[in-house]
């Protein structure tokens, strides 16, 4: 390619009047090879999930049973919802460490309203509003408080919301949740053939599907969604193009907080209670899910499918190791390994992309 490049030195005038050619006739071999490699890397996270499922279905007889699949879906629901919220934040180069504490606080508030008022509507509204307000405070502190990184306000919120949840509940689980919440968090539909009336498919998975659809619609269809990716891709360019960067940033923390409220409802339903520690460490699952799923921590890149894939990898890993009777502590070690593998795939992808770029520069005729 050096020869071809040098040949141009002597003939710059040939380019005069020719089309500004963007490399639509590249050198076939290297170009195609890189394209295939990049496609394979993008398929990395789903491939990890498929591999896990295949290995576990061979290793365990019950793994693919409807009952167990239902269990995995139910166990993954909270992580999925939290991960979808976290995704929006991560796409803008941010992080929300407070979603676990936010979940606990929202669940406590929801359960208290149900206990004291007896209104399902009020209880649900209170849980969702609590999550949203916590997110709003995160966003405003970060943007208006000019804090250097969202790590700071959300770390502060992690401890503050957790403390408030413990204070309000007197460090005790508040028993009881509205029936509709119990149905959402613990209900099952679609009975197993020959298994009686009890269904296998958790209603919580339907909630996940609904949330995923809405987030997809927002990120793909709405101008707001485009702005989220634009801000994540280049905050400076977003400012220059008249995108309301500050509002966009606040909005993703609000959305993430609202989804922590939704996750709180699922958690309340699962245990028919509001516990001040029910969301402890859930933020780590949510962040791990987004990263494992293939969203870039550098911002601007990541989809709903990425987040769901990551959440399912974590849930399947836990469920599988359980079924195989392996020490539960290995789950955490395995999750750590998967995080590193997933991010390493992302790093390799970055290298290949820059190779791809330089190839484009020299391979055009």
């Amino acid at each position: 390619m050096t020869e071809r490049g040098e040949a141009l030195v002597t003939a710059p005038d040939e380019a005069r009047g020719a089309a500004v050619d963007g490399g639509d006739r590249p050198r076939p071999g290297a170009y195609r090879g890189l394209t295939v490699a990049l496609a394979a890397l993008r398929a990395g996270p789903p491939a990890i999930l498929v591999l896990l499922v295949v290995v576990l279905s061979v290793a365990s007889d019950v793994f693919l049973s409807l009952e167990n699949v239902g269990n995995v879906l139910k166990q993954s629901a909270v992580i999925c919802v939290l991960a979808l919220g976290q995704l929006l934040v991560v796409v803008t180069r941010g992080i929300d460490l407070s979603v676990g504490s936010n979940l606990s606080l929202s669940a406590v508030v929801g359960a208290m309203v149900w206990r004291d008022q007896g209104s399902a509507t009020l209880a649900v509204a209170a849980a969702l509003a609590t999550g949203t307000v916590v997110g709003l405070i995160n966003g405003v502190l970060y943007v208006k408080g000019r804090l250097p990184h969202p790590f700071i306000p959300t770390l502060a919120m992690l401890t503050a919301a957790s403390g408030l949840a413990l204070y309000l509940s007197h460090s005790e689980t508040i028993q009881g949740a509205p029936p509709v919440v119990d149905e959402l968090g613990a209900g099952r539909i679609a009975s197993i053939p020959g298994g009686g009336d009890v269904g296998w498919f958790p209603t919580a998975a339907l909630v996940v599907l609904a949330v995923a659809l809405v987030v997809t619609l927002v990120t793909r269809g709405l101008v707001w969604g485009r702005w989220i990716y634009a801000v994540g891709g280049s905050p400076e360019a977003a400012v220059r193009n008249g995108i309301p960067v500050q509002s966009v940033l606040v909005s993703v923390y609000v959305a993430c907080g609202f989804l922590a409220g939704v996750a709180a409802l699922l958690t309340m339903g699962k245990g028919d209670a509001g516990s001040p520690t029910s969301g402890a460490l859930a933020e780590l699952d949510a962040i791990a899910a987004v990263i494992i799923g293939g969203a870039s921590f550098l911002g601007g890149r990541g989809s709903v499918l990425n987040a769901l894939t990551g959440a399912l990898v974590i849930a399947v890993l836990r469920n599988g190791l359980n079924l195989l009777g392996i020490d539960p502590n290995w789950q955490y070690i395995a999750t750590g390994v998967v995080i590193v593998v997933a991010v390493e795939l992302d790093v390799v992808r970055g290298h290949l992309e820059s190779r791809f770029r330089s190839l484009q520069a020299v391979s055009a005729p």
């Binding site: 490049g5 141009l8 030195v9 710059p12 380019a15 005069r16 009047g17 020719a18 089309a19 500004v20 050619d21 963007g22 490399g23 639509d24 590249p26 269809g221 709405l222 101008v223 707001w224 485009r226 702005w227 990716y229 634009a230 994540g232 891709g233 280049s234 400076e236 360019a237 977003a238 220059r240 193009n241 008249g242 995108i243 309301p244 509002s247 966009v248 909005s251 911002g299 601007g300 890149r301 992309e353 791809f356 770029r357 330089s358 484009q360 520069a361 020299v362 055009a364």
Partner: protein
């Protein structure tokens, strides 16, 4: 007026800068610079580092405000207009960093911040984007500028330096531009890609867009510019048609080895 007197006065200039002066503290950045750019004209802005080129283009694009003097666009005084106002009047500046969204495709880059979406009664952020209309407009525009990209759906991150420059320039002219200011568009590019960008500049010219080109490459200036204006220490020290014969004169003006004609 049936018979044009002189070819140079046949059309009214797009941009008129008169006695532009700007100082930063004790440093005189611009000291009475006067020049015009006509429609379809490529004006090269030459000068050593610190000659005042950047200050001048920032004064035109509304980033800096002149201490005295005036900037007129199509007869409209934009001397004290803000950057957003100047842009809305059709002056687009492509800075060296391009300000592209690497993670988005060309169409998303073109329409960033001005997405085609509806319905109009909703707040801007809650409108549904019309992906098809944006893709069509993008394809039309790239076609008009004869910019060929391998994949219109690929993120800009996957494109070469020249392709990215082409996308940035195309974005600049996408919205009925009158004047495009290019700051070192070929500085980071190889020969082949530089040639493509220079072609693009010629096409802007053919479209009647006025272009101000900052470049350190005398070859590129000679290849596309109709006129070259040399700045030195904030003053316009010379102006001529950049040809091989004038090359020595231009260099002399740039380094200050000879007194040029003041404009």
């Amino acid at each position: 007026m049936t018979a044009p007197v002189e070819s140079s006065v046949a059309t009214r200039p797009v941009l008129e800068v008169r006695d532009a002066a700007k100082r930063f503290g004790a440093v005189v950045a611009l000291d009475g610079v006067t020049f015009d750019v006509g429609p379809g004209e490529v004006l090269a802005l030459l000068g050593d580092n610190g000659a005042g080129k950047s200050t001048l283009i920032k004064a035109i694009s509304g980033v800096h405000r002149l201490d005295s003097g005036s900037v007129t666009l199509d007869g409209l005084d934009i001397t004290s207009a803000t950057a957003m106002t100047v842009r809305s009047h059709g002056v687009e500046t492509v800075y060296q960093d391009l300000a592209l969204f690497d993670n988005l495709d060309p169409a998303a880059n073109f329409f960033a911040g001005r997405e085609l979406a509806g319905p109009a009664w909703l707040p801007r952020g809650l409108r549904f984007m019309s992906h098809r209309r944006m893709a069509e407009r993008t394809a039309e525009l790239l076609d008009r500028l004869q910019v060929r990209l391998p994949d219109l759906d690929a993120a800009v991150a996957l494109m070469s330096g020249g392709q990215r420059q082409a996308v940035a320039v195309a974005r600049a002219v996408a919205f009925s531009s009158r004047l495009v200011i290019l700051d070192e568009p070929t500085a980071a590019l190889g020969l082949r890609e530089s040639a493509r960008v220079l072609d693009l500049v010629r096409r802007l010219k053919d479209d009647g867009v006025a272009v101000i080109l900052i470049s350190h490459s005398m070859d590129h200036v000679m290849a596309v510019a109709d006129r070259a204006l040399v700045l030195r220490r904030g003053r316009a020290v010379g102006q001529t048609v950049p040809t091989a014969e004038n090359h020595g004169q231009l260099v002399a003006w740039i380094v200050g080895a000879a007194d040029g004609l003041t404009v």
